[in-house]
């Protein structure tokens, strides 16, 4: 619920110190977004790229 006090804090020039609850919520959102990509794993193009480079390098060494 918005009160006069919270409104004042929001418009204040001085950055308010965030509560731990707010920080926790922001952190949760951030990780959720990030992990959404991480959980996609390794796309084939990168696995193929590494295998190809590895193969070329081994050939070069022989």
């Amino acid at each position: 619920m918005e009160t006069a006090e919270t409104r004042n804090r929001k418009t204040s020039d001085k950055p308010a110190k965030l509560s731990r609850e707010v920080q926790a919520r922001l952190g949760q959102q951030l990780r959720s977004m990030y992990d959404d990509v991480v959980n996609q794993g390794v796309p084939d193009r990168f696995a193929d790229l590494l295998n190809r480079i590895n193969g070329d390098a081994n050939k070069g060494e022989k």
């Binding site: 619920m1 950055p15 959720s32 977004m33 991480v38």
Partner: protein, 180 residues
Amino acid sequence: MDESVRKAVLGAVPSLRAFAISLCGNVDRADDLVQETLMRALANIDSFQPGTNMSAWLFTILRNHFRSEYRKRRREVEDSDGRYAESLKTQPEQHGQVEFREFREALAQLPSDQREALILVGASGFSYEEAANICGCAVGTIKSRVNRARTRLAELMSIDGVDDFGPDEQTRAVLAGGGE
């Protein structure tokens, strides 16, 4: 290339992609950035010191490459290709989805210095020291950027109270820990 090195590089790819998307704001560009990063890394694999953090090494290469090649294109990318929020397809319908979208849009509005610091520490799990090494700046600078990023995010999302939030010890600890 040593098999253990190949595995370490491959293992870092998912997190590299997540970081790249947060920098580029676009999945296709991010994947190109990751690919170029991997090619650079493998071409210079001799400069990687075994026993050090492979992930941090790759993040550093990716960030430097992004800074030199991609950053100047960022504005046009955002305007023409849509942003992070639109490019993620896997987010299921869920309670709090509106807030989640607001969060991603707010994140996209942060100055890039602040956004990358917040991602490295708050999502990638690097310590402040590691993030400082990756960004080539002082630890205090990273801490300051992370704090400003959090404050700005809360402002953009008009979060000025905690009434809506159920306290959650685990996530609270994760963020409060700040990757330390």
